[in-house]
Each structure stands twice: as C-alpha cells, then as structure tokens.
C-alpha cells in the first residue's frame, strides 16, 4: 500500500523497529511499517534494523533491494501504477503507458519534477476483467482509456 512521503525521523524509526523486533519473521512487516510512516526506507535505517534482528547489514540491504515495493528515497505525492500484465496488454495497456509517460513527462520508475506523481509499471492489479487497470495511491481504476487517465490525473492535481 502506498502512502504519501514524509520526513525521515530517526527517533520514530527506532520506535517502529523496536515495536516489530519481537514478531516472528519481523523484517518484512518492519520494512512495510517504516515505508508506511515515511514513504521510504532511509539507508540510515539498515544498521539499527540489522542490530535489532541480529542480522548483518548485507542481509537487510539484500531484503530491501529484493522487493519492488521498498524504496530508499522519497517518492512522489501520488503513487501511480499502470498495469502491464497480459490481460491489460490485450486491452491496450502498452498504449496507455505511452500516453501516461507523455502526459506526465516521466518514464516508469521516475517521479515528476514537481514531486506530484511517481509512475510505475505493476504486474497485475487483479482487475483483469475490467482492463486496462491502473492504481492511484492504492485505489484501483478499471477500463481506463486516455481520457479517463487524464481526468484522474487532473483530479489528483486539484486535490
């Protein structure tokens, strides 16, 4: 789930790490909690996480970088995902993604210069009967053509 990005707070981060350290298989829930709180996982968190879980820094870094969801730098205010999987391909998502990159002026994986949108490709939102699908800040939209895409972007900008 995506959240708005915030300011990294080492004290609060340390509290989150401590709160999660005792649970079985704590690392992924801990990383989710940190990203939920701050919008990203600052590199400075690696050492305290490793210490709390009795892991090496390399272990923690390896996990953060393995999963697509985790970011080590703040993203845009809105997280925009365009589905690129087969069901959406059958309904024109390649063209929709081209439209999105033109409309926003960024490539997948990038954030707009005004910090409003981070654009990403996602492989399947589970809305495959109503393709093409996109997601904005965790809310899914179906049957999205170029017009509807523009309307949704304009709504975000106005909010």
């Amino acid at each position: 789930m995506q959240t708005t990005s915030g300011q990294w707070d080492s004290k609060r981060a340390h509290e989150i790490i401590t709160e999660h350290a005792g649970m079985p298989g704590a690392l992924i829930p801990m990383l989710h909690a940190l990203q939920h709180a701050f919008g990203y996982i600052d590199k400075s968190a690696v050492t305290p996480i490793a210490a709390a879980l009795n892991l090496s820094n390399a272990d923690v870094h390896g996990v953060i970088t393995f999963y697509h969801d985790f970011r080590d730098a703040p993203g845009g205010k809105h997280q925009l995902q365009v589905c690129g999987a087969e069901a959406c391909q059958a309904c024109g998502c390649r063209e929709l993604m081209t439209h999105a990159t033109e409309k926003l002026g960024v490539q997948p994986g990038e954030t707009t210069p005004d910090g409003m949108f981070t654009l990403n490709t996602v492989y399947c939102l589970g809305n495959c009967a109503l393709s093409p699908a996109i997601s904005i800040d965790g809310r899914m939209y179906g049957k999205v053509d170029a017009n509807r895409f523009d309307q949704l972007i304009d709504t975000c900008k106005a909010s």
Binding site: M1, P24, G25, A26, L27, I28, P29, L31, H32, L53, D59, G62, V63, F66, Y67, H68, D69, F70, A85, E86, A87, C88, Q89, A90, C91, R94, V122, Y123, C124, L125, G126, N127, C128, A129, L130, S131, A133, S135, G138, R139, M140, Y141, G142, K143
Partner: protein, 527 residues
C-alpha cells in the same frame, strides 16, 4: 415504513468502475426523497461486466440493475426501482441471469450474497457448519474427507490437498503452521481477491479446519501488497473472528487453539512460489528453496507446514459440511469439484465463472464470455497466468481440466483465461514472457536468471531479421534448458508461453514478411 435493502458491491473491481460513487449517490437520493433504504456493501457476484451491479430486495427476491452509473441513479428512483420498476438497466432476478444461473457456485456460494463482514449473515448462509462439524471429528477423518473429495491445489500445481494434509499430520513437531498463499500474481486471475473481499470468513474457516486436521495452531495469510482491499477485509474479519471465539484460544469452546495473522508481500511475483513465500514470511529475500525437503515436512521456520492456495482452503468448509461425496460429484476424471474460472482481457463478459471441471474452453470464452469486448475475432487465449500456454482458437473444444490441458501442451494454473483478439502480436507476447521472467526471477538458479535475459535478446534478433531460423532454433534450445534445468516453475514454465506462441503462430516470428502478409486467415496488425 420498512427499510429497503440495496446491495452495492465493495469489491475493488466494482469500486474501480464507480461502485463507491453509486452507493453514495443512492444514499443521497434516498435521503432527498425521504425513502428509507439500507445500503449493504456486499462482495461481487462475479459478473464484472455488469459492475457496478446494484441489487434491490423486493418481495424477498434480489433484483439486479447494471452496470449502474452515478447518472443512472435518479432515473432508477424515478422508475421506482425500489419496487422493481421497469428501467433499461433492469436485469431481472440476479440468480436468474443466465451467466450466474448456469454456474456451479460452491466455494463462491456466499460471495456477493452476504455482507462480507457480518458474521451473522455468514452463519445464516451456512457459515461455520464445516468448522463445527470438524470439531467433532478426529484429525485423521478430516484429512480423509479432504482426500476423498478429490480436491487438488487450486494455485496451479494441482497436487492432491488431502495427501499434503496427511503428510503434515503425520509429521512429528512441537509446532506446525498453516500458510495460505494469497500472492495471486498471475495476470488474468482475481478469484482469490474476490473471495477475500467478498467472503473472508470462508477462508478463515478453511484455515482453521486445516489447523485442526494437522495439529497446527498458527496460520498466516500471505497477501500481495497490490491487494489493499483484500488485506483490510481479511484483517477486519480476523479481528471479528477473535471477538466471536472463532479464532484464538479454545475456538468455539472446544479447547483447541488456532491463531491467524495477515502478512503482506512486497511486490515480488516469485513469492507466489511456495518456498519463496515461506522465505518471505521468515523475513528473507523471496528466493526459492531446493526441494526436498518439502514444506509439509520442513516449511515455515523449518516446521511442518501446509501451504495451500486461497481457493483450496476456501473449498474445505463445504467439503466438511456437505461431505466429500458431494464435492467429488462435480468434475471429470481426476479433476474433481469446481474450478473458479476467471474470464479476462479482451472479453465482452468478463468475470468469475465457478463451474465443474470439464466445461469446454469454447463454452467459457464464447458461451459465458461472449467473445471479445471490441467485437474482433478471438485469436488466442492464455490460460493459467504468465507461465501458461497460448491456446489457439481452433483448440477451444478442449475441456478445461488439469489432464486435458496438460495433455495438450497447456496448463490450467489458477484458472485465469486471458482473451486476445486478432491484432495480437504473438512474437511480442513471447518476448514479454521472457522479459517478465527476467524482471521477476529470484536469481537463485542460472537457467531462469540468465536464460530469461538471453531469451529476450534472441527474440529481438529474430524480430530484427538477424538469422531468424538459426535464432529460432537457439530460442527453442534455450527453452529446453530452462524447462529442464530451473529450480522452480518460474524458470521451468516460462518456456510454455514462448513455445506455444512459436508452435501455433509461427508466422508472427517471420519479420522478413511485412505485417499483414502472413498466411494466417485472421487479419493481424503488428505494433
């Protein structure tokens, strides 16, 4: 004046096309007109082409209207839809809509019918019957019922669920686990999501019964992060389950314990592979494990573990409640019970069709699905997700069951069927299969990690007209290496869509022919 019940789905797919706005508008209009209505946010009935599907209860029958837009709402009130008044969007009784009436709703019997987070509604529709019965049975008898039902893993592998359960039951350990694989990453599939959002207690009940059957007291539902609504619904249902004594210590005063937690994935497709999911649950990189040992003997934290798909576990309450024979009566050959087929992609009537195994692809794609959304001819379907084969239109007489599809170079997988029209470029689709594998490979084994990258390069050379025949041979050779040499299904099955595309649509790989000059009878437009 009595209140009129109106159902507007809360399912994320319904919401994706405006269900929240429709629900709000209905409440607003009713208020403005001084009408007493209760809007219930149910799951989806699975007729996603009709979403948002609004249902009104008139004389104890549910009347359907759809697809309803916000702008339709005042007109529906003007037409007296609360009394079943005539309206262009009126569809009659929901359960008499042919798409719905022709299905065999077993696992999804409650989905779209009840309020997903109302335990009384759940119990009133047969919920907890299986659990109460299981609490009176011994563990061996529960496993035997599941075995006798013929239930096989609905995640795609099709392994007999009862055998897996017996293996875990017979393993000696101080702790065992039930892990539900809800990392539904295959394109074209959404059944797990629909069930978790529409009938979460069924999954909880199935997992609890699994715990009783094998002596496990802790369960985890591993849900992909792309499913925030499923996560929220499952968490809320689990919270309610604890409050009701359906979960926790001494469930239903039986003296038996079962605890359940939701864990969230982090955007890695490979974590749908069972051992990779276990690694992720343990807080590690989602890299697959070599087998043996099998998870049933050494799974989560090294303990005996059941790893089952959402739909396998959700089938269990009915199997226990109604007996193995009732479930086993559905289906053909060794494919017993029902399958939740998901009709997706370029399809006129997309949605979920729960049907006994044995139905033909034609009946699903054309009978239920109505062909393509845009009216062009269907050229192919991909069955079973990104690792599944592309099946050409002249093979749609095949029956959709495990053995028939496997015998024809395809696989059922999780039951997703993605429809493509005649403009699809099969070389691009084959390229994507390898590109996806390159992006999502866990990196543990070389055939998958390197083979996928080399495969993309080789297809690019074919498409550029660079020694196409030699490179095509090389590509097929690479497919063989990946199939035989990969550690798990990711690398092992990625060749399936590639080979099927090459086999059935060779003309698409001959780029020295200008697009449209192919010998195929169907018109083709390349990107």
């Amino acid at each position: 004046m009595t209140t009129t019940r109106i159902y507007v789905p809360r399912d994320a797919a319904a919401v994706s096309v405006g269900a929240d706005e429709v629900a709000a508008r209905i409440e607003h209009e009713a208020g403005a007109r001084g009408l007493d209505v209760t809007v219930v946010r149910n799951g989806s009935r699975g007729m996603l082409y009709l979403e948002p599907l609004v249902e009104v209860v008139v004389n104890d029958a549910r009347l359907a209207f759809g697809p309803v837009t916000v702008d339709d709402v005042p007109g529906l009130f003007d037409a007296g839809f609360l009394q079943g008044g005539a309206h262009p969007k009126a569809l009659g009784k929901t359960e008499e809509i042919p798409y719905f009436a022709k299905q065999d709703r077993v696992t999804f019997a409650r989905c779209g019918v009840i309020d997903p987070l109302d335990p009384e509604d759940y119990a009133a529709h047969g919920g907890t019957t299986g659990l109460r019965k299981a609490l009176q049975m011994d563990a061996e008898a529960i496993c035997q019922q599941v075995l006798d039902s013929g239930l096989r893993g609905r995640g795609g592998a099709g392994f007999p669920t009862g055998i897996k359960w017996q293996t875990v039951r017979n393993a000696e350990a101080d702790q065992k686990y039930i892990c539900c694989n809800a990392d539904e990453g295959d394109s074209g599939t959404f059944a797990d999501r629909m069930l978790m959002e529409g009938d979460p207690f069924t999954l909880i009940e199935g997992m609890t019964i699994a715990g009783l059957a094998v002596g496990a007291t802790q369960g985890y539902v591993y849900i992909r992060s792309e499913y925030p609504d499923a996560m929220a619904t499952m968490r809320k249902a689990i919270e309610l389950g604890y409050a009701l004594g359906w979960l926790g210590s001494s469930i239903l005063d039986s003296g038996k314990d079962f605890h359940l937690d939701v864990r969230v994935g982090a955007g890695a497709y490979i974590c749908g592979e069972e051992t990779s999911m276990l690694e992720s649950l343990e807080g590690k990189r989602g890299q697959v494990r070599a087998k043996p040992p099998i998870p049933a003997l050494a799974g989560l934290f090294g303990k005996p573990t059941i790893v089952n798909n959402v739909l396998s576990l959700a089938a269990v309450p009915d199997i226990i409640a109604d007996g193995a024979a009732a479930y086993q009566a559905y289906g053909v050959g060794r494919s017993r019970g029902t399958q939740a087929f998901q009709l997706a992609g370029n399809i006129a009537r997309g949605g979920l069709v729960e049907k006994a195994f044995g139905i033909s692809l034609n009946e699903l794609i054309h009978g239920f699905g109505g062909g393509t959304y845009n009216g062009r001819p269907v050229r192919t379907v991909q069955i079973g997700g990104p690792l599944g084969a592309y099946v050409p239109a002249d093979k749609f007489d095949l029956a959709a069951d495990y053995e028939t599809l496997a015998g024809n170079g395809a696989m059922l997988g999780h039951g997703g069927i993605v429809v493509f029209d005649d403009t699809v470029d099969m070389a691009q689709q084959a390229r994507f299969a390898l590109e996806f594998c390159a992006a999502e490979s866990c990196g543990k084994c070389t055939p998958c990690r390197i083979g996928s990258v080399r495969g993309v390069e080789t297809i690019d050379r074919i498409l550029a007209g660079d020694k196409p025949d030699e490179n095509l041979e090389l590509l097929l050779d690479l497919c063989e290496v990946m199939t035989d040499g990969s550690l798990c299904a990711m690398g092992g099955l990625t060749p399936m869509p590639v080979r099927s595309a090459v086999q059935h649509f060779p003309e698409d790989f001959q780029r020295d022919n200008p697009p449209g000059a192919s010998t195929s009878s169907s018109a083709r437009v390349t990107n």
